[in-house]
């Protein structure tokens, strides 16, 4: 019979999850994986290119597992969240509960990528106000072009808007030394479609490259 082990890091990450996900994860890793035939549960998904490693999908979370065949041990190594994106147009406010949830999310392993649709100044203003309410005393800071986020996949040497070519900046909020909120007052949704954008907005050029870099960066850090 296979034995189940947990890294201390895994247990810490599990203890920090939102309650609903945590309960589902606990059921799987403490009970179901310890059953007589854990491989019959249909949870394990092989990670192509990584022998003995597999993952379990749990909503937007992934549990990273190593199968040590020699010792017949299932090792729960990490549990990590995928990413959240916020965009829109016009002013908005979050409810107190939404603020609490968002703060909990980004301070417990989550990552938020936010940009104003069509570079809408009202949306950007609202987002800044909400960040001030959620993280009082903390300010988003401009991320310098020397930061790894500009080099993780593509080498981005400048950031500018599509039409006016005016210089633009990405801003970030850090927690425990890691960027957890990345914000652009200019849209990161530029599709370059003909006659776009519908509102004539001046979004960020190279948005697709920036998004790829952000995705890769958040997966690696």
């Amino acid at each position: 019979m296979w034995r189940v082990e947990y890294t201390k890091r895994f247990l810490k990450e599990l203890a920090s999850l939102p309650k609903d996900v945590q309960q589902r994860a606990e059921m799987i890793v403490f009970r179901e994986l310890n059953s007589t035939n854990p491989f019959g549960l249909g949870y394990f998904e092989k990670m192509t290119g990584y022998p003995e490693k597999c993952k379990i999908r749990l909503g937007d979370y992934r549990i990273g597992i190593t199968m040590d065949k020699k010792t017949q041990t299932i090792i729960c190594q990490r549990i990590a969240h995928r990413r959240a994106v916020m965009t829109g147009e016009g002013g908005f406010t979050l409810t107190p509960n939404e603020r609490l949830q968002l703060r909990y999310y980004v301070t417990h392993g989550g990552f938020l990528l936010a940009s104003a649709g069509c570079s809408d100044p009202n949306w950007a203003r609202s987002f800044r106000l909400e960040m001030d309410r959620i993280f009082p005393g903390q300010k988003m800071k401009v991320i310098p072009l020397s930061h790894a986020i500009y080099r993780t996949v593509y080498n981005i040497k400048f950031v500018a808007t599509t039409h006016d070519r005016r210089g633009a900046e990405l801003e970030g909020l850090t927690h425990n030394g890691k960027i957890v909120v990345l914000f652009s007052r200019d849209g990161l949704n530029e599709s370059h479609a003909k006659n776009c954008c519908c509102c004539g907005g001046d979004e960020l050029d190279q948005a697709e490259y920036i998004n790829v870099n952000v995705l890769a960066y958040t997966l690696l850090h």
Binding site: A15, F30, T48, G49, R78, A216, L219
Partner: protein
């Protein structure tokens, strides 16, 4: 040894009025495969970081976990 099969990507390049490439469109299923490769790469890297981490099992794991949960709630 870690290896990857080459991923065939059917891309359509969008150009501006000066024929300068400005964007790439790819089929959704190919996007999902790329996303999967990136996700696995990132997850595997996170896992490698814990290769030397202390491991617990059975009651020792549950006791440690309950302590963490209690301190997280308190914090």
């Amino acid at each position: 040894m870690v290896y990857f099969n080459m991923l065939e990507i059917h891309k359509r390049i969008v150009v501006d009025e000066n024929q300068k490439p400005v964007a790439v469109q790819i089929p959704f299923d190919e996007f999902q495969r790329i996303e999967e490769v990136i996700e696995n790469f990132g997850l595997a890297k996170l896992m490698v970081e814990t290769e030397d981490d202390e491991r617990l099992s059975g009651d020792a794991a549950k006791d440690y976990y309950e302590t963490l949960k209690a301190s997280d709630v308190a914090g």
